[in-house]
């Protein structure tokens, strides 16, 4: 994607005419940014509630402190997620007015329900974050539960809209292609929705768990191995370690759904130029301009076996050539899809092995793995989880090209005619990069303040801060 973006910048500045690549780049960039915040919004609340529950139930002061601090971090990530999500609601129209004009009546239906969940999330996250001091402990705990529930159903609703783009059902068109009737249930519960939604929700737990755990893994590597830090790590990593094996099963089922329902996307994923049986699984590799697979490591017959294990190597996989060139991803897009697929599966498998290590240690030794190498791997797992998620989303989106609504509308027919998008794209990139860096810096600063016990400084909100004497306040490290 980075190369795409760079190429777009260079050509766009020179020509500044065709808005389509710019619209695509901007949508891709803003979604790629927003999707990193999604797992935190969905699963961090659950981790916080686990700590909160433990804190109240077992009178565990460390757990309570952990829950409080996590809720403070969540306040920041939720705010950033809320505003970057809002940008998307502008961009649907700013970048894809023809898509929204024609399909809004169907595409919008899941969002109407998503609105309910977003409201719920926003209201209760405020009550939970600000209610620590005055609400009774259990009452306060329960104000956090709707956040977790709304997070799950909210992401299901959004994915339902995206799934509808892959499987546009529940609409009746007249001869000119105008939507004249909509079956809301058919739109929401389209065929692609259940598996895609499950894949994303589990991904949110997987990625969120690894992201939070990786921070504590770094802390433990730096010698902060007290009860507080261990608990932060164990809660987060356990969530991820439950989600990861589930994700392997969900993802595998989804891949077979794509094989059955979106053969062209499947051909791009597996990089299959011509229909045949006994198709090899090519790791990495490249589709050249002649449409031939070059390089990579072919594993004979594996793609066929995985597509339908019951038929083994005799399973026929439909090739790209069955679809007219104008209606299938370009060779470049096939390469992007295939590479993203390899990255997602490869990284997912590594993370799965890491969770196996974790479970083995708990089963055989009744404690978490003691090895430094485990912690080092866990420290990398947050970034790896994000990489896998971004790659998976790339597979879904690039693999659907050139369609914005599968077999009904092409991306190029959906975009705005506005030629100034390259300018907004640059503005958005600068703003978001600043936003991303600042978010991380602010959270690091919060963490340092928590550790250093300098919380007193904040009591002087806008005046010059009073110096705080060291050791004024003892916070468990």
């Amino acid at each position: 994607m980075a190369i795409d973006v760079l190429a777009n910048v260079v050509t766009g500045v020179a020509l500044s005419v065709d808005p389509v690549p710019w619209a695509r780049s901007q949508m891709a960039f803003t979604l790629a940014f927003h999707i990193i915040l999604v797992p935190l919004g969905v699963s961090w609340s659950v981790m916080t509630l686990i700590a909160n529950y433990r804190g109240i139930k077992h009178q565990d002061a460390d757990a309570m402190l952990l829950a409080q601090r996590w809720s403070k971090y969540m306040a920041v990530t939720f705010a950033v997620g809320a505003v970057t999500g809002t940008v998307l609601s502008f961009e649907f129209g700013l970048l894809w007015p023809k898509f929204m004009g024609q399909w809004g009546a169907a595409f919008g239906v899941p969002f109407a329900f998503e609105g309910i969940f977003f409201f719920t999330e926003a209201v209760f996250i405020s009550i939970y974050i600000f209610g620590w001091r005055r609400l009774k402990p259990w009452a306060h705990f329960w104000t956090g539960v709707p956040i977790a529930v709304a997070g799950i159903f909210g992401s299901i609703s959004v994915v339902a809209a995206n799934a509808w783009m892959n499987s546009p059902q529940g609409v009746t068109l007249d001869k000119s292609g105008k939507v004249i009737d909509v079956d809301p249930m058919g739109v929401i519960f389209n065929d692609a929705m259940p598996l895609m939604a499950a894949h994303m929700v589990v991904a949110a737990y997987l990625v969120g768990g690894f992201m939070v755990a990786s921070v504590y893994a770094v802390g433990m590597l730096k010698g902060r191995t007290d009860h507080y830090h261990r608990m932060g790590f164990i809660i987060a990593f356990t969530v991820a370690a439950i989600a990861t094996p589930v994700q392997m099963a969900v993802g595998d089922t989804l891949a077979r759904w794509v094989y059955d329902n979106q053969p062209t996307k499947f051909a791009a994923i597996e990089m299959v130029p011509k229909t045949s049986d006994d198709v090899p699984e090519v790791l990495l590799g490249h589709l050249n301009s002649e449409g031939e697979v070059t390089g990579g490591i072919p594993i004979p017959g594996l793609a066929s076996i995985l597509s339908d294990p019951s038929d083994g190597t005799s399973t026929v996989v439909q090739g790209l050539d069955e679809t007219p060139a104008a209606d299938r991803p370009t060779n470049h897009e096939v390469n992007v899809t295939h590479l993203a697929w390899d990255v997602m599966v490869g990284v997912g498998t590594l993370l799965f092995l890491l969770t196996l290590w974790w479970w083995a240690a708990w089963i055989f030794r009744r404690s978490m793995p003691g090895s430094k190498w485990f912690l080092r791997a866990a420290a990398a797992s947050g970034v790896l989880g994000v990489v896998a998620m971004e790659a998976g989303w790339t597979v879904s989106e690039v693999g659907r090209q050139p369609w914005i609504v599968y077999e009904k509308m092409k991306v190029e027919d959906a975009a705005t005619a506005n030629t100034g998008i390259w300018i907004t794209f640059i503005g958005v990139v600068i703003l978001y990069l600043g936003l991303g860096v600042t978010t991380i810096l602010v959270m690091r600063q919060m963490s340092r303040r928590f550790r250093g016990g300098q919380s007193g400084e904040v009591d002087v909100p806008y005046g010059p801060s009073e110096p705080i004497e060291a050791g004024d306040e003892k916070v468990p490290l």
């Binding site: 309570m64 705010a79 502008f90 309910i116 409201f119 719920t120 705005t416 005046g463």
Partner: protein, 354 residues
């Protein structure tokens, strides 16, 4: 059913104008509060007032967009196609405002707070201006339907749009000042009660003046809207003026809630007057409500969702506002009395300063 959906849409716009508007207005007062020392106390009240509620209030905007693109897709597509520039500015402003406000609360160095505060405050003025300009563009018939783009600049740089933008900023500041009077009173900060009361009067005068000037602007620049405002929407215009005057009267008589309610009434009837004046056009003289309406199935689904929202969300909002108004959601970083560091360790739930 199309009419019901349009009413829901306008109700959502009104709610956003009031609650979202008050949050933006608070940012305006933050901007003009003065230097770090001088403005500290006012910013305290502002932080206190909007921190627990702004995100929930912000969701109304997303709900408005969702209603618009689902129920009236062509209107959404036409608006976003023509008003690309002000809407892009608004979107970026929203990112800047929300993120900076959250960051300001999370950091503790004065310099950082000041920078984030400035970004928050400036974008709090930019966003309502852009939305006001967008409404001005729509109301003056500068957004064509049917997949044609209107003038990319002229559509929102024109007398009615400037009026809309300035009026939106004034109205936001006006509402916020009334809300902040109550918030300061809740904090028992009498100095700040007087401070925001003066500003409420000033903002009311400014909004009234802009509205008066607006009459002449609209008469020349937005004929259709002007005719609507002076005929079928006239009762609402008068109601708005009466509410505005009543709010001022109640404010000087120092009643507890009346002034705030009357101010809300003034803004709500102003938004309603706009809606009635251009009825039954969504985009005056080019796209009516029924022409833009989505098929029945969509409308049914959206109205069901709205009903569910009313059942689920309204009680949640009531809970949030009640807890907030009873000061059960204390700003964690605010100075709270009787807090020794030792206590904070023994009672973990009392840990301050997130």
């Amino acid at each position: 059913m199309d009419t019901t959906a349009a009413l829901v849409l306008f109700a959502a716009i009104t709610t956003y104008a009031i609650f979202g508007g008050a949050d933006f207005g608070a940012g305006f007062w933050d901007l003009v509060a003065g230097g770090t020392k001088r403005g500290g106390r006012a910013r305290n009240v502002i932080d206190h007032a909007i921190a627990p509620v702004w995100e929930a209030n912000h969701v109304w905007l997303i709900f408005v967009w969702v209603l618009l693109w689902t129920c009236f897709p062509e209107a959404y597509a036409s608006i976003t196609l023509t008003l690309f520039v002000p809407l892009t500015l608004a979107a970026l402003g929203i990112v800047l405002r929300g993120a900076s406000f959250a960051f300001r609360k999370a950091v503790f160095r004065t310099r950082d707070r000041r920078n984030f505060g400035a970004a928050f405050a400036i974008s709090s003025v930019l966003v309502p201006y852009c939305f006001g300009a967008v409404i001005g563009a729509i109301a003056s018939g500068r957004v064509p339907a049917g997949g044609k783009a209107g003038a990319p600049w002229g559509s929102w740089v024109n007398p009615t749009s400037v009026l809309g933008g300035v009026l939106a900023v004034c109205v936001a500041a006006y509402l916020a000042a009334f809300f902040l009077v109550s918030d300061a009173r809740r904090l028992s900060d009498e100095t700040m009660v007087a401070y925001f009361r003066r500003r409420a009067i000033g903002a009311a005068a400014a909004a009234g003046l802009v509205a008066l000037v607006g009459i002449f602007v609209l008469a020349n620049d937005a004929k259709y809207l002007f005719d609507g405002l002076t005929s079928r929407a006239l009762p609402l215009v008068i109601l708005s003026a009466v509410c505005g005057l009543a709010a001022l009267g109640l404010l000087t008589r120092r009643t507890r809630h009346g002034a705030r309610l009357a101010a809300v009434g003034a803004v709500a009837s102003l938004v309603a007057a706009w809606g009635v004046a251009q009825w039954d056009y969504l985009l005056p003289e080019s796209l009516t409500v029924s022409a833009a309406a989505a098929p029945t199935g969509t409308m049914t689904a959206v109205l069901v969702a709205t009903g569910l929202a009313a059942v689920l969300i309204v009680p949640a909002f009531v809970l949030l506002y009640v807890l907030d108004q009873k000061t059960l959601l204390p700003e964690e970083s605010m100075p709270e009395p009787a807090h020794s560091p030792l206590e904070q360790v023994s009672h973990v739930t009392d840990e301050p300063a997130g």
